[in-house]
């Protein structure tokens, strides 16, 4: 066995030395295939991550519920009764649904006058609680903060601004600590939202609204009608159960049948997440298949070349057999050659891809709509493993079939004819 290995290696080195050009071209073909599949998959992965992050910029595992009208009679109430939750009802549900990550009410004031200095704009003002911040990914820029429970308790006149609204009002000026007025009441800016690319919203993009404490909202804008109830589950699988439980908790309190699906209009973002996951997986598979085909063409190229080599060297193989070479000493170098070409091609392809992907990683996405949509191409372990698997199959096939042909050569017939 040891003798076979060392012989195969020696014979391989002797023949490889003689065909540098062929080896180079073959390796280049495989490197090309590898770069193609890796880049396609990396773009797919980058797109997937970017789209997921865009979609989840609003927050993930959320359910948004708009109060609606009942369609079933319930405890003497006839159908068509309006469901009108109040802040206390949401607090009531929070106490009874510890399984939720967070639940909050949102009060909305559309087209509200906000002014700073001589500038006045009409914008959306949301009244809500501190939990909203993390669940809805309202991360403050450095130097600022989101609402906290004391703001709520003390009815503080503080406001957290969406980044675009902040720019519209303050321009280049730093808003945090400044005072603006909302409906002619002074509010202190405590934070500005970090820029985020957001592809789904309810009501409007987060960048263009202002968030104030619920208690303050009620006091200043004189309205405590809940526009939407939003909750977040810890994991997506909890969503269906949580929706049922919420109806059971709020139904008797608000006067609707827990089975009544029209009491709330529900946007279950988990369903959307699942759908887009499927679409994105489909997209990645599509990229993967194209890449794999390209790589397989490279592999077929290797097999073809090796096949030609075997044919061209039929006589040489016959001579070696006559001189006492065993089958494995004939086929071994071919198999090794196929595998070495594939390995080197894969290696170079991977290096080139890593350089390209790393280089693209330095390109700034902000401000470029196309790139913000595409994201950075990303290489991941599954991509690497898939590529290695395909390369491995290529390498084995590229070596195995020609080798089988070589082994079938009959020395007697190849030596007879001149």
């Amino acid at each position: 066995m040891k003798k076979t290995l060392s012989l195969v290696l020696q014979l391989f080195l002797r023949s490889a030395r003689l065909q540098k050009k062929r080896a180079t071209l073959t390796i280049a073909a495989l490197a090309w295939g590898t770069v193609t599949i890796l880049l396609l998959l990396a773009f797919g992965e980058g797109l997937k991550r970017q789209m997921t992050s865009n979609e989840q910029a609003m927050g993930n595992n959320l359910a948004i519920l708009w109060p609606g009208e009942t369609t079933r009679p319930y405890k003497g109430l006839s159908p068509g009764h309006r469901v009108q939750p109040r802040i206390e009802d949401v607090d009531y549900a929070r106490d009874r649904m510890p399984e939720l990550d967070a639940i909050w009410a949102e009060l909305t004031s559309w087209r509200t006058a906000l002014s700073y200095g001589k500038k006045t704009i009409n914008g959306r003002v949301i009244g809500t609680i501190a939990n909203y911040g993390n669940a809805r990914k309202h991360f403050p820029k450095p130097g600022g903060r989101f609402l906290n429970p004391s703001d709520e308790d003390e009815k503080r006149r503080v406001v957290f601004l969406g980044n675009e609204m902040a720019r519209d009002l303050f321009g280049e000026e730093e808003p945090v600590g400044k005072t603006l007025s909302i409906n002619n009441s002074p509010f202190t800016v405590i934070g500005v939202m970090q820029r985020k690319r957001q592809s789904s919203t309810y009501g409007g993009p987060d960048a263009t609204h202002a968030v104030i404490p619920q208690s303050t909202f009620k006091a200043v804008l004189g309205n405590d009608r809940v526009n939407v109830v939003v909750f977040r589950v810890r994991k997506s699988a909890d969503m269906d159960g949580a929706l049922v439980h919420l109806s059971q908790v709020l139904g008797p309190r608000l006067g609707f049948d827990p089975e009544d699906t029209h009491a709330f209009g529900v946007w279950n973002t988990v369903e959307g997440q699942k759908m887009s996951e499927k679409i994105l997986i489909g997209l990645e598979m599509f990229f993967g298949i194209i890449g794999a085909l390209t790589l397989i063409i490279g592999g077929v190229g290797v097999a073809n070349i090796m096949y030609a080599v075997v044919k061209e060297r039929t006589k040489e193989i016959g001579v070696k057999m006559a001189l006492g070479a065993r089958s494995a000493w004939i086929t071994g170098p071919f198999v090794l050659e196929g595998m070495v070409y594939t390995f080197l091609g894969g290696l170079f392809g991977a290096l080139i891809s890593i350089v390209i992907v790393t280089g693209l990683g330095f390109v700034k996405l902000e401000g470029n709509d196309v790139l913000e949509f595409l994201g950075h191409p990303t290489l991941s372990w599954p991509i690497g493993l898939a590529t290695i698997a395909i390369l491995g199959v290529c390498g084995l096939a590229a070596g195995y079939f020609p080798a089988r042909r070589a082994a079938a050569i009959d020395p007697a017939s190849t030596l007879r004819y001149e």
């Binding site: 003798k3 012989l7 020696q10 014979l11 002797r14 003689l18 006589k315 040489e316 016959g318 001579v319 070696k320 057999m321 006559a322 001189l323 006492g324 070479a325 065993r326 089958s327 494995a328 000493w329 009959d410 020395p411 007697a412 030596l415 007879r416 001149e418």
Partner: protein, 230 residues
């Protein structure tokens, strides 16, 4: 009989091409003693080449018993036959069959490589052999840089590399001009005198005459076996 290197008994070889069965050898009994120089002659299609392939273990007989150096090789596997060819048989072909991309040295070295000889011993042996055939100064030349006669001498050196029991030559002078052919015949005679066993297939009556024994084949049978006639 005890010293017979080649001992063939009722050897038959049938080629089955699917529809037609061609019987190339129809019962050959052939014994070659240690140190003999045998010429095998016969017209084209008589079965010479088939016999040569069987003697050289490039092929196995359809029927009959073949002892090479005392080993019954009739039922050997491919790899066992490869080992037998490596150790017991040295081939010299009409078309030289040197590997064109590698040097004379490396060509002669190949059987030693297959025979598992250590690198240092390989080098010594190759140098010794190339000196013996008069090509000590052409070791690094590739076959394309050598004349026909020189190529055949490299091939003979290669055939001798593993000190085989028998040297099998198939028309060794067939592709050479008269003068080179004469050189090669001289080299064969020299080897014979030094004790090698030679089996040569040839049309060349000059070469056949140098052999101690001539075996003539026709239609797959031996029709004459005896002393060379002048």
């Amino acid at each position: 009989m005890t010293s017979a290197i080649i001992d063939m008994n009722a050897i038959r070889k049938t080629y089955d091409t699917g529809k037609v069965k061609v019987e190339a050898l129809k019962g050959i009994d052939l014994a070659v003693e240690q140190g003999e120089f045998v010429a095998i002659v016969g017209p084209s299609g008589s079965g010479k080449s088939t016999l040569m392939n069987l003697v050289g273990c490039l092929d196995t007989p359809s029927d009959g018993r073949y002892l090479l150096g005392g080993e019954d090789v009739s039922k050997f596997t491919r790899d066992e036959l490869a080992d037998v060819r490596n150790r017991r048989v040295g081939f010299v072909f009409q078309g030289f069959n040197l590997l064109p991309q590698i040097s004379a040295f490396e060509n002669v070295e190949l059987p030693l490589l297959f025979g598992g000889v250590a690198p240092k011993k390989r080098r010594e042996r190759v140098e010794e052999l190339l000196a013996k055939v008069g090509l000590a100064d052409r070791m690094d030349h590739k076959p394309t840089e050598l004349s026909g006669g020189q190529m055949q001498r490299v091939a003979i050196a290669r055939a001798l590399a593993m000190r085989p029991d028998v040297i099998l030559a198939d028309e060794p002078t067939g592709n050479l001009d008269t003068s080179s052919g004469g050189d090669i015949m001289g080299l064969f005679t020299e080897l014979w005198q030094q004790g090698s066993t030679l089996v040569v297939i040839t049309h060349d009556m000059g070469l056949a005459r140098r052999a101690g024994r001539v075996v003539e084949i026709r239609d797959g049978r031996i029709v004459r076996d005896g002393e060379a006639v002048a």
